[in-house]
Symmetry: D3
Subunit: 207 residues, 6 copies
């Protein structure tokens, strides 16, 4: 007896999956707004769930830290939804070096340990604080910021972003891990040539 409702309304639901979400098809064309959408017919709950942040990142490296992203490239379920996440693991003495996200604001929540986090505004005003478990801090879009394990135990945090593809520009990698010529670095940063060459040596930069 209710079938008429189903009949009348069901055509509303035929081809309109973009209204709700747009799980990214990493092999399809990509545009300024993100990846192409997979059809809803092929989706399962696993397209909206990601387990890649469940394990502790490997912090056996010089910065004693690991960043594990769940951006749209790793977790296509967030494509087009204006949000993404990453996991930060910081061993004792660990540091997430000075960096920016060109396309997103960031919100950090400390899950374990103590993290000294900070950012610098366009007005060259510095905002930093040591954060304990459960405390949160926001880093406005595009500004230089950093996180340091300021405690005596392993630290864990999750950071969410206001974009599915926030980007990540780590200052030292941008300057010293590519082929940006030493003289350009010197002229545009006022760093000494010896300092530049030392860091290029460590980070693999050429030029």
């Amino acid at each position: 007896m209710f079938l008429p409702i189903l009949f009348v309304l069901s055509f509303l639901f035929s081809s309109s999956n973009a209204a709700d979400f747009c799980v990214g098809d990493l092999n399809g064309p990509q545009g300024p707004a993100g990846y192409s959408c997979k059809k809803e017919a092929v989706l399962t709950v696993n397209d909206f769930v990601y387990s890649g942040l469940a394990s502790t990142g490997n912090t056996s490296n010089l910065i004693k830290a690991a960043v594990t992203p769940a951006f749209d490239a790793q977790f296509p379920g967030v494509n087009g939804l204006g949000i993404s996440l990453a996991r930060l693991d910081l061993a004792v003495g660990g540091v997430i070096p000075m960096h920016t996200h060109p396309g997103a604001s960031e919100l950090l929540v400390v899950i374990q340990g103590t993290i000294c986090a900070g950012f610098i505004s366009s007005a060259n005003k510095v905002y930093f604080k040591s954060l304990n478990k459960g405390e949160i801090m926001v880093f406005p879009r595009g500004l230089l910021h950093f996180q340091i394990n300021s405690g005596k135990t392993q630290a864990l945090a999750f950071v969410s972003f206001s974009s599915p593809s926030p980007g990540l520009q780590i200052l030292d990698f941008a300057l010293f891990a590519d082929d940006l010529p030493t003289d350009i670095i010197q002229e545009t940063t006022f760093l000494d040539v010896a300092q530049i060459k030392k860091l290029k040596g460590v980070l693999g930069g050429t030029g």
Copy 2:
């Protein structure tokens, strides 16, 4: 000798704090894009840090759960930045009832315990799964969704939103905790009058 640089460039930084952020002035006028901005001159790091999510929410209630928000109204530092956060505490048997956020997508990360989370799409397709520690799930903007402690221990999750003021419409509260007339509820939900009156009795609804 460098002072000329400072002199030449410093005027850039005089009155442009809106470029970077807009910490909300909860007492100023509010517009469609959010609260008015506080002047950068009066800001400290504490405007960008919030400690209100550090404590376990009180789950001694019927749903055995608590939602603690850090939206712009609680944490004005996120005003205008396209992001916010909330803490979910679920005691054993706890439930965050069926609800929507009218203005934001949501990204959940399980910190402790096991949570069965799900949502329903416009196409009436149901997506739900039991999530363990470290797993994440995305709930697209505006869709009905829920979270249930599906384990045998207290559960904790953080949920981030793609807006500083995502809104929250809990289905049962919308229907049964206000003065929406019983006959309108009956006509628009097909629920039996007895069922409606029972829930209104519990939730305090009138009309």
Copy 3:
């Protein structure tokens, strides 16, 4: 003599059709911002005109109502333009059941008859009123709302949306017309199991 103008300016108009509009190609890839564009060269005025709302919807069903959409999936001319339309027909006693549009605000204009329309805010405040011919009402994005023929004649309304693909989540269909398990419904809505089973029976739900 004016030909030089044509010559100089004409190249401006060669490949820039996306500047003005993007009539959807329903067979091309779809992204978060909508469907791919058809080339302007193949377009005619009929790509911008839709006749599918001209006929009265079939209201011979239990809700005595019909919703006929002109979203981008039906009317690709609105793709990317931030707007769409639907037609509501309500026979005497007809009801558009409680529902949300996850991605759009809605603006209703009564063309014929009398319609009692309302919505519920995140603050659980109820706004409803009986509207006569020519009166309009706005339903903010993502909130539960409904329309009831509150008169003694057939009613007609047009509703416009702030998105070409507003989505439509009808509460009863979301809960009772799919495979959402009864125990989850019970836990997350506090409805009685008998009530849930009754409505699942009518609406075809399983699980």
Copy 4:
């Protein structure tokens, strides 16, 4: 017994009215995103309802037509919601002259009569058609368009816009009803001076 829920959740609803809507306070400060918001506490359903479009516009004028807007300035309930409406009345022979809406796309639905409507794209391609009752046509953002009563009876249409403040620039008023100097009009439109002066005379232009 349920009171603890109310207690735990109620603080969510205290000051967050901007999440759902922002009914415009026409006397408060106005920003790029619209008017300031009225507090939800003072709102009633009448803030979301507008009756100003219910009456036939006065078409006893030279264009035999009337445009009655329900933009945010007339209907503050749409402020910030990305949508607005207007009513078009066209007597026999009535014309809505060539115009643009600088900030919105438009979607027209014919309620009564026959309307010849059209627009011109950036590529100087003309799209126009005679529309009957129930037919709809979309006019992409910012493009010149027009509506003419092409039938033998009074015509009525509603037009919705993808912005609460779409703006309206009527070509003849822009050119001939202000103080734009005749020589500038002549140089920038190639119209003859006699033609310009004639229309300025009729429309009240000076300069």
Copy 5:
């Protein structure tokens, strides 16, 4: 010794080029947000540089002016970045006729000569001024505006737009250089038929 950093972080950079930019692939599908992106792997600096504005435009035409665009169709590097540019050359007596950009605001800077520039608001208020070298003027989105060489020498200006595809609707071309029927023009602009036919004759219009 630093290699572990590279190892740990490098996977962040694998497939996320959309985070930063989306150089347009003019042969790929186009959506409402712009062209499809080229892969970063194939990009060189020349994708972000355009030389097409370096030469003086040919002003040997009736308007004694030339507009040379660097929109996304000509300069795909700006696709998705919210900005584009054009070069205006005006010989003595040159005029950029009355026009609109349906999708963007415009900012003009005079490089050489003197330019009288102006626009008309929706309120039919005229704003115009003679601008000298180095002066800038903004033309809000979608409004009719013009530029006239008001000096005694060749003039040059650059205009930037708030969109990679601002569109361009030149009033005379829209009315008189296509197949818009003369009677429709007459009815919607109040221009005399003789005037319309004269301009159609010059600009190549039919209909």
Copy 6:
């Protein structure tokens, strides 16, 4: 005889100035979308014109360069319009040091001289080139970039931005011209303490 048109349509133009533009009132409240609007009644053409970029900037400083902005704080006419401009003067040997604009993409046009400009992507790929008069280059939002006078004469460029308040974070000023502690700089940039102290000494940093 035409007065009826004026009468019927004129009320459209009464209070809707926000539709077209929103000239910033620097003394009014500021929100996430920008400054409050001045009323159109008080505006003149000078609100849309700015002469502050007409003079050569003072390059008698260490970087032999000057940046002169026309952001909303200097030129309130661009408030809310999604665009702004700045003038770059570079004496021989002049350099605009490595910097980002957190909130905007940038489009540079060389007016005089030769400028070596470049940026670094999130993928640590370097894009730089020497640009001659009339050539343009785009710097995507939020990425580190620089400009160097690579010629033997004074250079001049105009840069437009995709926001009225793009922000400006100069790397050396962010690190060395404020009170960011030396040990935090060292830990987050890997620079040697001696290098940090040297640049702090020059730029006036403390801490």
